[in-house]
Symmetry: C2
Subunit: 355 residues, 2 copies
């Protein structure tokens, strides 16, 4: 695909850049922002002219519906720089489509493609120096929309703000990740908003994740809320389970996010003749496979970490350590995927899009 | 109970009041705010000195976690003025306790009683002219907390803001309310955050409610997400069902809010020797009762509307009109409850608290 340039835009450049104050070798994920942000307001039933302006705090009414009723959605994407200093996006059409699906589910207005993708192109052209070359470097992109309309009555707002902010990132390494299989707490309801990248889905996981942290587990793998028997996702990552030489991942549903990394892993695995099945894996199956040594790997797939191998899991008090493999599929897929993203390998899928 | 006065507070009064610009006979619920608000920030692991200041927009970072991960909770309360111009609250201890339960579930810091209730007392002393006398008049109180800490990484914030804003209200009359019984969409998951007054619970209901609106129904009565067979709550109201002369309401759970109006209705009904049972009512029971005329009333119970009678319900395409009764329990309880709240009847329960 090709990104169209958004022409109808106001650009207010920052008088000076913060870029020389940033230590690009020591970045904490999601805490440093670039010089500019994109802002586009929705009012009177329409999207107004987008503005690129210096990154700064904004003013918002204390009764804004985002504070009281949680109308807020986001996406996570990354930009990469190739050896010739060109900037690339990875499957931005997928994020754009999912963003508008989330918008519909949260009763928010859909954002036009020229604002989301065209605006992002303009913003990245301005911020291109913030995208660093080399495997592991990227510029994390956070498009989001919030309900700015005022009033403490539980109904959709009439005013919204779409924004894009950018944060330079190093390869995301979270250390050894041990996970807890959820027995009581849940991430999403049937007929709920689990498939939307809605803000409220994330805060809901913080407390049960804290309880897991206190027991020495970094993340939780959620199970279906009705029976807690089926493995679902890890909240910020979809989950893949390798039993013998087949990869299994839960099918997308109302409860499970249709992850861009997830679908890319599936397509890459198929190309490499690795068997992949999209079906629910039962907790009992996982435990059984761990006991009879057919369980080879578990890994998470998401934009921030790309692929995050799991060292072991705990269920009902029993801890199961995963083997350390020489022929890890997680490592193989991560290498192939990040090479495509960073333009170090040929992109036979047509996933990468030049700015 | 008695409210302690909060002494450690900064008070910055507005130079002029907006009160004379407000038409108190024509108020749209939740849209007019008083002259002042209470603001209290949490930083460095502690709550700072609260401030009462003029109501105004505030500045907040675009990466604040409330926008991205939905860490936001609130309460709804009302203040009433008696014939002698004294201002009263209704069971404020219940809202305070529930607020901190919501805070724990959303991994947010608990707010001290002196800030929440003591701060509210100071704010209401300043805004007492905004509380109008007479049945139906009240000052709606919205305490809330948002995660102001910056950073686009899905983890609890380190900085929070607790606020109280006030909005004058007339008796809430929403017209005739017809409801749709949910068959597909859901409000809450087992092991989720349905029992917390978390912002994200509300936006999740907007889209299915819009779909119901388009079919001519004002509200949705949610059912359990796993089977859609059990009646739960209406999202901003708990639901009571009268079959013959017994009132039924769903038991509180992780999926159902422990409503202050709900528990007051139960206690009032018991005092009046009306049979009340806290148990799940099946949708099939409701339909059967409607068909054999044992279904007498359905009503919602919540702070904004107090008691909201339901005119009829629809399930799987069949609409069931409720009878118009001369001896409505909804009307009886609403009268008794609002008389207590407005200090027009003796408060034998000790529910009302003087400011």
């Amino acid at each position: 695909m090709e990104l169209k340039t958004l022409e109808e835009i106001d650009i207010q450049l920052a008088p000076t850049s913060k870029i020389n104050e940033v230590d690009f070798d020591n970045l904490t994920f999601g805490t440093t922002f670039t010089d500019h942000m994109l802002v586009c307001d929705f009012a009177d039933g329409e999207w107004k002219k987008p503005v690129i302006q210096p990154y700064a705090p904004m003013t918002i009414d204390p009764s804004a519906k985002v504070f009281h009723y949680g109308q807020a959605i986001f996406e996570g994407m990354k930009a990469y720089k190739d050896a010739n200093d060109a900037v690339w996006l990875f499957r931005p059409d997928q994020n754009y489509e999912r963003f508008n699906k989330s918008a519909v589910r949260m009763a928010m207005p859909e954002v036009p493609e020229e604002v989301f993708l065209g605006g992002l192109k303009r913003l990245l052209e301005i911020e291109k120096d913030w995208v660093k070359k080399g495997l592991g470097n990227s510029l994390y992109i956070r498009p989001f929309m919030i309900a700015t309309g005022p009033g403490v009555i539980a109904a959709p707002a009439k005013f919204y703000r779409f924004m894009i902010i950018l944060s330079p990132a190093k390869a995301y390494y979270s250390g050894e990740v041990k996970v807890l299989i959820a027995e009581h707490y849940s991430r999403a309801a049937n007929g709920g908003i689990g498939a939307a990248k809605a803000a409220g889905n994330y805060a809901a996981q913080f407390y049960p994740t804290q309880l897991a942290n206190e027991q020495g587990f970094q993340q939780v793998i959620w199970t279906d809320d009705a029976t807690h028997t089926k493995l679902e996702e890890a909240g910020t990552m979809n989950v893949f389970i390798r039993i013998n030489d087949t990869l299994y991942t839960a099918p997308t549903s109302e409860r499970i996010l249709d992850g861009v990394t997830r679908k890319s892993v599936i397509e890459l695995a198929k190309r490499e003749n690795i068997a992949v099945e999209e079906r629910s894996v039962l907790v009992t199956e996982l435990v059984e496979a761990a006991k009879n040594d057919s369980l080879k790997e578990i890994f998470g797939a998401g934009t921030a970490a790309v692929i995050n191998p799991i060292a072991g899991f705990s269920y009902k008090g029993d801890y199961f350590e995963l083997p350390k493999l020489a022929d890890s599929i997680a490592v193989e897929i991560k290498t192939k995927l990040t090479n495509i993203q960073n333009k170090l390998a040929e992109d036979t899928f047509g996933w990468t899009v030049k700015i």
